[in-house]
Amino acid sequence: MVYFTIKTLKKFFKIFNSLAAPWQVFLGTLLGTLIGFLPIWPPAYGPSPLGLILVFLIIVLNCHLGSALLFFGLSWLISKALAGPAVLVGEQFEGLARWASTVPFLHMSLWSHTGYLGLTLIGAACALLFAIVMWRFTIYFRTTLRDRLMANKRLATVGKVGGNTILMRVVCWFFDI
């Protein structure tokens, strides 16, 4: 479990040092988070057109697959934990759920289900938030943080950074520098 967590964390931090452009990270995070929260094929209801379209977009659009998969898994876990609050959110948008039941595409995408609607809305908010944070941090990392870390790593190599050598090496390992 610890190993898995560490590997996942490393994959996460590696995103910033990847060859992908920041917009690709943004798009991957956005779509990955969305399909994590939205229903794709719940056994009780069958395929959700919106969920399947998002999966199709992840495949076709040149987004960063690593961030998409990572945020899909992360969001899926979060969505399981938020099943209760999602219903509360969905009930706040009862009018939207009722209206969605009259639109075949949205009805089949389970927007007329207060639980899934709540998850969809939470997912949309989280997806946008996560994507913007990832986009901004990727730019910050590549323009500022990476140079600093590399400089610190060089210093650590020649023993100029006293007590923080191990920490610095761990951080650089995580960022794949």
């Binding site: 060859l19 992908a20 452009a21 690709q24 719940p42 009780a44 209801y45 069958g46 495949i59 076709v60 659009l61 040149n62 987004c63 099943a83 209760g84 219903v87 969905g90 009930e91 009862e94 759920a97 009722r98 969605a100 039941s101 009259t102 075949p104 595409f105 009805h107 389970l110 007329s112 289900h113 207060t114 639980g115 899934y116």
Partner: protein, 460 residues
């Protein structure tokens, strides 16, 4: 003397390093993944591979649950094959039975082979099920009455009715009257909704949603019922069904032994741009061939023609078909029936032309004076061909004879037949008298022969 050191040759000057190539600017990634085609192919292959295990069972489960909602069940022996991409369902040995107390009951429909092309995009555009083409071969069906006398599929809701005592004509009346009332109620509701939009039907929470146990707090809203439908509207753009057997509610000569039904835009609920046509060529057990042609225009207009060229009158008089109305006459003979009707709104207009020959009436004891009188007249015709035109009117749910055609018969063929019978009787009587006179006066024989020649000349 020392040797002079050898002259130092200047070291070879290394060639100046070649100027480093400027790093190529990173290629900007395009918006579409170049490997998407491969990924999609892999995904498509996975989806296709998963069909028999995931998608087919799910889709067939949906078909079964839809049938169950309609009170029917698809037998386990039915072989259904689904092709999602083509939107085609093929089936073999398809058998649908009634669902009685959760168990399969009487068989309603069976088809040796069934093909349905579903218009996927059109169906997804609304809550409809639109089938481009539905072909069933080697089909058979049964609408035999249930033990309580009601008929599967077409029994209108209602309590306190002993369906076993309802003949076909009354059944038709009850069914069409229920449809009329339902339509009028829908029209009234639509009118109310137009005047007061707040009265429009609201989506209702589905109490039987499939995840009610796992997610009890959630609610799922179902689309509000349409103005005249309980479930998705079903439209068959092209229908072809042929089969060998179709049982009607009672065991009568009208039981169908082979049939071929073709249709275009067949549906119950019609859109404004759809004109439904349905033709049926039926071969019956004891009522000869029957051809039916139905056309339903958008709105409430339509026409129907039916031809039964070799219909035994006994078949029409079967108590299950016409109750006591004809049975008491004990009619026998062969009728050529040509029925045409049209309706606009609920008003019905039509004509029924019967050409009957070999008609005899043998009224049952106690049938009444009217039946006895009719028998006397008809039996005197001695089976001569009789054309009997009738006019039909009233309403679609309660058709009635607006003109029984008796006047027309008296003027036309019945009049001629009666006249012929009277002439024949008069001739017989005259001949008897002449023979008596000839016995008394043999010299009159020559006058008779001349008169006979004269009659022959007149006939020419």
């Amino acid at each position: 003397m020392t040797d002079a050191p050898p002259p130092v040759t200047p070291a070879a000057v290394p060639p100046p390093p070649a100027p480093a190539e400027a790093p190529k600017p990173a290629k900007r990634p395009g918006p579409i993944r170049s490997s998407a085609v491969i990924l999609l192919l892999v995904l498509a292959a996975l989806v296709v591979l998963s069909f028999p295990f995931v998608i087919e069972p799910w889709a067939i489960g949906q078909v079964r649950s839809q049938l169950k909602a309609q009170g029917m069940v698809l037998s386990d022996d039915s072989e259904l094959d689904l092709k999602i991409f083509g939107g085609r369902i093929t089936g073999a040995k398809v058998m649908i039975a009634e669902l009685v107390d959760g168990q399969p009951g009487a068989e309603i429909f069976r088809a040796g082979a069934l093909t349905a092309d579903i218009a996927v995009m059109d169906s997804l555009a609304g809550f409809d099920l639109i089938i481009d083409e539905l072909i069933a071969t080697d089909a058979s069906g049964s609408l035999r009455r249930r033990p309580d006398g009601s008929v599967p599929i077409i029994t209108p809701p209602g309590e306190g009715i002993d369906w076993s005592k309802v003949n076909w004509y009354d059944y038709y009346q009850k069914l069409s009257e229920w449809m009329k009332n339902r339509k009028e109620e829908q029209e009234r509701q639509e009118e109310e909704q137009k005047q007061d939009p707040s009265k429009q039907p609201e989506p209702q929470a589905d109490p039987n949603r499939p995840d009610a146990i796992e997610w009890p707090e959630a609610t799922r809203y179902e689309p509000p019922p349409g103005p005249d439908q309980d479930g998705p509207r079903v439209l068959v753009r092209k229908l072809e069904i042929s089969g060998t057997e179709l049982g009607l509610p009672d065991d009568t000569p009208f039981d169908i032994t082979s049939f071929q039904i073709s249709g275009r835009d067949v549906c119950v609920v019609q859109e404004k741009d759809e004109t439904m046509s349905l033709t049926a060529k039926l071969q019956t057990e004891g009522a000869g061939p029957i051809d039916v042609d139905l056309k339903r225009a958008p709105g409430a207009d339509g026409t129907m023609t039916a031809k039964a060229p070799q219909l035994p009158v006994q078949a029409l008089a079967h108590p299950a078909v016409s109750g006591d109305a004809l049975a008491k006459y004990g009619a026998a003979g062969l009728a050529n029936i040509d029925f045409s009707s049209s309706w606009s709104g609920w008003d019905l207009k039509g004509a029924l032309t019967n050409v009957v020959k070999d008609l005899t009436l043998s009224p049952q004891p106690g049938a009444g004076g009217e039946a006895t009188q009719a028998a006397q007249i008809v039996n005197n015709l001695k089976g001569q061909e009789l054309t009997w035109p009738m006019l039909i009117g009233g309403t679609l749910y309660a058709p009635k004879l607006t003109d029984s055609g008796v006047d027309e018969i008296v003027k036309g063929s019945l009049g001629s037949a009666v006249q012929g019978a009277a002439t024949q009787k008069a001739t017989e009587e005259a001949n008897k008298q002449i023979e008596k006179q000839l016995e008394k006066n043999p010299e009159l024989q020559g006058v008779k022969d001349k008169a006979g020649d004269l009659f022959k000349g007149l006939k020419k």
